[in-house]
């Protein structure tokens, strides 16, 4: 570790440390990461202090030895989607461009806590996707097999198998009977904030500057190349500028006159009042928009469809709230008397084929990480890992080779849902 002794690094977390601090009035704790001020120049600037940006910085330092790195975040870290998602992690993708990438992410999740020395509460309690018809079962079978080909785990359950896992679902009176489910036991959830803080602390401990309240407002250009950024805290130069700003991507690329295959949309999420354990893993409804899990604190965390129109307002409207609760009642009528405690929205970078972009370019000095739709939380480790590779080597890794920007022009789109160039339908 390249830590200089003058810096107050966050101490290593251990049971012993917790005990020692408990006995000494918590005196030994330090800020989990330094609140850095921007330096005039860096080797790499990562724009966006969400999970992807912080993971990218961490892996640049850890895997590629590039530590002269700043993460510039306009608010506080984790204030974007990383801090407002429903925390589902899984690698149950269908298409060859996607599945190996997400499975690699799963593997990184499985070792994350030891790697970061931070408990991100990665909890592999299973992800169960219900199906309600024969064609849906066929589609899930295709997916389950695609997962196996990529080395992931998958199981196809019949209705009895589902009942054994989740007896509280409506097997008696459902409008769309539950015929079975696709189960990924290794899927589950992770604590969203802890992932952000864990990466931030680990990156900081490797020398990365995490600069909060520093909004990127433009780019420094020389000879057509991007050589740095303008920020609310002044210009900062960089050898490479890497964007990982999720739903804000077009706000930035506007300054470069780039039109991207991205639209910004909002997705709401919901949490119920705290309850004693009820829902074991993650469950998704196949004939409506509803999915649910339960947080360690007892809140049911659930969500559904996106709002469906371009927006930069981080919030949603009542029809989707109703739609989600109708879906919930349709499969889990015991939630009727449970209460929704809070709803909020996030700003999604919906892409034209529903799959991400991790690529070099499209301008010299610029690197793109976007198009995560409603599903980029699970990608956080692999996205950071692949983006770091792409930045460091100026070429994509095999795992993100399909996530090229030029795939739309060539036709190599990765459209899991098969709905075409309509982001609001992905």
């Amino acid at each position: 570790m390249s830590a200089s002794s003058s810096v107050n690094w966050s101490p290593h977390y251990s049971a012993f440390g917790l005990l020692a601090n408990a006995l000494t009035g918590q005196k030994g704790w330090r800020p989990a990461w330094r609140d850095a001020a921007p330096k005039p120049a860096y080797d790499v600037i990562v724009v966006g202090g969400g999970g992807h940006g912080l993971a990218t910085a961490y892996y640049l330092a850890k895997e590629h030895g590039i530590t002269n790195v700043a993460v510039l975040e306009k608010g506080h870290i984790g204030s974007g989607n990383a801090g407002r998602n429903t925390t589902i992690i899984r690698s149950n993708y269908l298409l060859p461009g996607n599945e190996p990438f997400y499975e690699w992410s799963m593997k990184l999740w499985e070792g994350l806590e030891a790697d970061l020395n931070f408990n991100a509460m990665v909890s592999q309690r299973g992800v169960l996707n219900l199906f309600h018809s024969d064609p849906q079962r066929d589609a899930y079978a295709r997916r389950a097999n695609a997962m196996r080909l990529a080395g992931a785990d998958s199981e196809l359950l019949d209705a009895d198998g589902v009942r054994a896992l989740a007896p509280f679902l409506d097997f008696a009176n459902a409008r769309f009977p539950i015929k079975g489910g696709l189960l990924q036991k290794r899927g589950g959830t992770a604590r969203h904030d802890a992932v952000v803080w864990g990466y931030a602390r680990a990156a900081d401990r490797r020398g990365v500057d995490i600069v909060q309240n520093c909004e990127v407002t433009g780019f420094l250009r020389e000879n057509g190349a991007v050589v740095g950024v303008e920020t609310t805290r002044g210009p900062v130069r960089a050898g490479k500028v890497a964007l990982a700003v999720a739903g804000s991507t077009s706000r930035l690329t506007r300054h470069l006159d780039l039109r991207l295959p991205i639209e910004s949309h909002a997705l709401q999420a919901f949490v119920s009042e705290g309850l004693k354990p009820l829902v074991p893993g993650v469950i998704t409804f196949g004939m409506g928009h509803f999915y649910i899990s339960q947080s360690d604190k007892g809140g049911l965390v659930f969500g559904g469809d996106i709002e469906g129109y371009n927006t930069y307002a981080q919030r949603g409207n009542l029809p989707v709230v109703e739609d989600v609760c109708e879906g919930g009642m349709a499969i889990m009528p015991l939630i009727g008397r449970l209460r929704m405690l809070r709803s909020w929205g996030g700003l999604l970078d919906m892409s034209m084929d529903g799959s991400p972009i991790i690529d070099v370019g499209p301008l010299p000095g610029l690197y793109l990480n976007t198009g995560w739709n409603y599903g980029g939380f699970k990608a956080t480790p692999a996205s950071g890992w692949c983006f770091a590779h792409t930045i460091a080597r100026d070429a994509p890794h095999a795992l993100n080779a399909a996530f090229r920007l030029d795939r739309f022009r060539s036709g190599h789109v990765i459209d899991e849902k098969g709905v075409g160039a309509q982001p609001n339908l992905h």
Partner: protein, 983 residues
């Protein structure tokens, strides 16, 4: 009993009995569960979230953080219900929660001794070793300890509904400000809705012994209510909480229609979700009394000063035999005096300020005023408090302590659309910032605390809202209210050694936790919130947030304004998910669409299956058949050998007219329709603009300027929308008119070698010979004794076949006529399963193949594409990826070992290849057992498939344990030349 001898707005003439934790108590109509518990001397009502500390009632409203109970029993059990908002009813049953084995003795309370380890964020730093133990040990333990109440494990038996309301002015809250606003707007004739979450209108007016005009404030409230009730343009909605502000001036509200009853009234819902669309909104939601953080501030008996007063004045209950107050503001001071007035034995008012304005009045009432701070409390339920004064410290006995750190405006709804509150130094409170469009804020919610200001701002806001909309507003006639001083001095936190000093009572966040967050760098308010969970409990920190921020501000040396504030989001108070779903649950989740022949199919014993919202016959089991395959094999055989009948009405059907109809179809289909002869039909394929197949179906030409199109069942609405887009947006110059005729027509398909024999008997004399009605011919005639019909000679099964369209009301009559006519041939009804087998045998693509990922070329339909014209999707279907050799192409498969069963969803691998993503060569889309061939057959996509016919590949299906060798073949298994359908 702590019921005062008189006073209060409860009906003492009637007694209601109820039970809590198994013991029976009595209360009165007008009580809440909380006031009734206090009246029965029950102080300990729950346990806290993390440390399982004993807790009592702290508020008298929906901001309650502590007194959460499980209300009702069995399937109606409602966890986390605030005792302070539950209207008492006879037979009410409630139980404490989050304790084991009992409320009085909770083993988990041992957690509090571990608190040094369990500080903010402790779990992020531990439980990592060994990692496998997280799911197995640590997490289950944390989960069992966490959570609050228990959900009922059974479906909610009650009914919910939704309703829509429209108005000019929505007034939220019926305190002084809300009533004044509603009166001002209502008198102008504007349509007003006054929504109040309480079961009684009046807000604080019900609890304050003050005068408005010449009489008590309560009388003003009653008079205002009476006047409003008499205005036809005003609708009063009590028990209705406005929970969210949304775009388009739409507000979500929930009305508790039956929650004050043991079970909802017959035929009435338990709750009703309101979507209120208004032009203007006046938010008059009042303010919360916020606590002061001091050691021991969570002891049962420590409560909000205003709540203590409210229990005395509104409910006639003394929260303890003796009480004291600890305040920093005049309003709470006045409330303390009201409590004394109502008969509460007030030992002392501890005020942090040197000279409270109302001190003289207190002395006059014989109430001692102490300048100082409460630094400690004791007792399992509060028995004494210790006060620190300039002279030293003093401990005295009291059973209740009313605490007030000032008023926090209830601005919750102002932040739902992005507004950020701003800090007002003089008021020591956050006040509304940017407001949702159309909203104004009045009364205490706006920081206008004195009663007169509440009335004035309310009347002004109501009047302005109405006059803005063009209503003639009479000069507001605002009564005079007794002035009470509104002095306050900022005071948040008593720094003193000793026990827990809670900031957030429900989530057990202490002042020490805030300090730890500060030390570890979680200083931004949003990080503070997330690291400590401050304000994240069921009360959303309505009363606790400000103090938490103030303590953080103190630690960082910044002002509270600089420190900022977290935002509230919908809902204002938690809303039952049943209410948000309304009628749409169970079978009513979504409409069920029966086909025109549903009743007939039922009579035939059909088994039905969902197809989108439709319910279709899946197969028709006959006596003696006990598995579906036997029935389906029989049905298939009947069609192949004789004749069968199926209801195909669910297809989308679109009528296209106009001089440009043919040209239009040429542009939306890959093939050509303008050259189609009148009286003929043609199969067509449509692409999306990205070159992927959107849908397929046949279109028939009925006249030069008249076509009728069929779409797949699944894509009916999508295709119609697409066609309208093409006409209205892309080619507005085309003169084409569309009409959906899906609902108007029933479409019955008769297929099989004997189908013509049947048809002959069904038509009213028309010539349906091969010459008169050739393959792909169309005939308009009448059938079954005068039913107008269109007969299309089409074949999905590959057999000779006809589709007969008649008005849907006649569909049942037609199918019965067909059955009768077909009886001599053993005509066999069939369902979607057989339909599937027939088309798989024939190699026709369907939904599993048209999956949104396949091009016409992939589907083997590339040759249909015209090269003489442009059409939607043509250009992008020419992209390099679409033309790659290696692309998976549509072909058929059969198992080398014919006894083996194929499975849809299997992937293809070259024989001997490693099962990896890189070696994945495609996938099986559809399979069937072919009774015609006597073995399993399949369709699917295989890399470069057309060129590999005859090759053997593996159908790899590890998820079901399958891995079999299959032969690649032409997809048309039966009658590849199509002779049968032309015969």
């Amino acid at each position: 009993m702590s019921r005062l001898l008189h006073g209060g707005l409860v009906d003492r003439s009637r007694t209601l009995s109820f039970s809590f934790d198994g013991a029976t108590y009595r209360g009165h109509p007008g009580d809440t569960l909380a006031s009734a518990l206090l009246a029965n001397d029950v102080r300990l009502v729950g346990r806290s979230f993390k440390y399982h500390r004993p807790r009592g009632i702290v508020s008298a409203g929906s901001e309650e953080p502590n007194a959460l109970v499980e209300l009702r029993m069995g399937a109606r059990r409602e966890p986390n219900t605030r005792a302070t908002t539950v209207e008492l009813y006879g037979g009410l049953i409630a139980a404490s929660q989050n304790r084991w084995p009992s409320l009085a003795f909770d083993l988990m309370s041992a957690n509090q001794w571990l608190s040094p380890f369990l500080g903010a964020g402790f779990y992020y730093k531990t439980f990592m070793w060994p990692s496998a133990l997280w799911e197995k040990l640590y997490e289950p333990v944390i989960r069992r300890a966490a959570g609050l109440g228990r959900a009922a494990g059974r479906p909610d038996p009650d009914h919910y509904e939704k309703a829509n309301a429209f108005c000019d002015v929505l007034v939220v809250g019926s305190g002084a400000a809300g009533l004044a606003a509603a009166l001002a707007a209502g008198r102008s004739g504007a349509r007003v809705i006054l929504a109040e979450e309480d079961f009684r209108l009046g807000g604080r007016l019900l609890s304050e012994f003050t005068n408005i005009g010449d009489g008590p404030a309560r009388d003003f409230a009653a008079a205002a209510e009476a006047e409003l009730a008499g205005l036809p343009n005003v609708r009063i909605m009590a028990r209705t909480t406005v929970f969210g502000a949304y775009d388009g001036s739409t507000y979500g509200a929930v009305e508790r229609v039956g929650d004050h009853l043991a079970v909802p009234a017959p035929f009435a819902p338990r709750q009703r979700l309101w979507r209120i669309v208004t032009q203007r909104c006046v938010l008059a939601a009042g303010a919360f009394d916020r606590p002061i953080v001091f050691p021991g501030n969570d002891r049962p008996g420590v409560m909000s000063a205003l709540a203590l007063a409210t229990y005395a004045t509104r409910y006639g209950v003394s929260a303890g035999q003796t009480a004291a107050f600890f305040v920093n503001n005049d309003h709470a001071f006045a409330a303390a005096l009201d409590a004394a007035d109502a008969g509460v034995e007030v030992e002392a008012i501890v005020d942090v300020r040197p000279d409270p304005a109302l001190a003289a009045r207190a002395e006059a009432l014989g109430v001692r005023v102490i300048q100082g701070e409460v630094v400690a409390t004791s007792g399992k339920r509060l028995s004494s408090v210790t006060v620190r004064t300039a002279k030293g410290s003093e401990t005295f006995k009291v059973e209740a302590l009313g605490v007030s750190g000032g008023a926090t405006p209830n601005l919750n709804l102002t932040t739902h659309m992005g507004g950020r509150p701003t800090y007002d130094e003089a008021l020591c409170a956050f006040v509304p910032g940017a407001l949702p469009p159309g909203m104004t804020v009045a009364g205490a919610a706006a920081g206008a605390f004195p009663l007169q200001e509440c009335l004035d701002t309310g009347a002004r806001a109501g009047a302005a809202a109405a006059s803005d909309l063009g209503f003639a507003v009479p000069r507001p006639d605002v009564p005079r209210a007794e002035g009470a001083p509104a002095g306050i001095s900022a005071f948040w936190h008593v720094e003193a050694p000793g026990g827990f000093a809670f900031v957030d009572l429900q989530n057990d966040v202490t002042a020490k936790d805030v300090a730890l967050a500060h030390k570890e760098g979680y200083r931004a308010v949003e990080l503070l919130k997330r690291y400590t969970t401050l304000g994240m409990a069921t009360d959303q920190g309505k009363t606790s947030n400000t103090a938490g921020l103030a303590i953080m501000a103190h630690l960082t040396g910044r002002s509270i304004a600089e420190t900022g504030v977290t935002v509230f989001r919908p809902p204002y108070t938690p809303v039952a998910m049943g209410a948000l779903a309304g009628h749409h649950r169970g079978k009513d989740f979504r409409p069920t669409r029966p086909t025109p022949t549903h009743r007939w199919a039922q009579e035939q014993g059909a088994v039905f299956v969902e197809a989108g919202f439709w319910l279709r016959a899946q197969y028709f089991p006959q006596p003696g058949e006990n598995d579906w395959l036997t029935s389906v094999n029989r049905e298939v055989k009947a069609v192949r050998e004789s004749v069968g009948v199926v209801d195909a009405s669910t297809f989308g059907k679109i009528d296209l007219q106009g001089p440009d109809a043919g040209r239009f179809l040429d542009r939306v289909y890959i093939n050509t329709f303008s050259t189609l002869a009148v009286g003929k039909a043609r199969y067509g394929v449509m692409l999306r603009e990205d070159g992927i197949v959107m849908d397929d179906g046949t279109s028939a030409r009925l006249a030069d300027d008249h076509y009728v199109m069929t779409t797949t069942t699944a894509n009916a609405a999508k295709v119609y929308q697409h066609l309208e887009f093409c006409l209205q947006v892309l080619w507005p110059d085309l003169d084409v008119q569309l009409a959906s005729i899906t609902e108007h027509y029933a479409q019955i398909a008769v297929s099989g070698p004997r189908s013509r024999d049947v048809l002959v008997k069904v038509v009213d004399g028309a010539d349906v010979s091969n010459a008169a009605l050739p393959f792909m011919g169309v005939l308009e005639t009448t059938v079954a004794g005068g039913i107008p019909a269109r007969i299309f000679r089409l074949s999905f099964s590959g057999e000779l076949g006809y589709e007969i369209a008649v008005p849907s009301g006649r569909g049942e009559a037609l199918i019965r006529a067909i059955m009768e006519a077909g009886a001599p041939y053993g005509i066999t009804p069939y369902g979607t399963e057989t339909l599937g087998v027939l088309r798989i045998e024939k190699g026709h693509v369907s939904g599993n193949e048209l999956n949104g990922q396949t091009s016409a070329r992939d589907l083997g339909l590339g040759k249909m594409a015209s090269t003489k014209k442009d059409y939607i999707g043509r250009v992008l279907a020419g992209r390099p990826a679409f033309l790659e050799e290696d692309r998976p192409i549509f072909v058929g498969f059969r198992p080398l070992d014919r006894t083996q069963r194929l499975r849809a969803g299997a992937h293809f691998l070259a024989v001997g290849a490693e099962p990896t993503t890189a070696n994945d060569e495609g996938y099986m889309t559809s399979v069937a057992f072919s009774p015609t061939l006597g073995h399993s057959i399949g369709l699917g996509f295989l890399r470069n498939g057309q060129k590999r016919i005859g090759e053997t590949v593996r159908a790899y299906d590890p998820v079901r344990g399958g891995d079999i060798a299959v032969e690649v073949c032409d997809p048309a298994f039966v009658d590849p030349q199509g002779e049968k359908q032309r015969g």
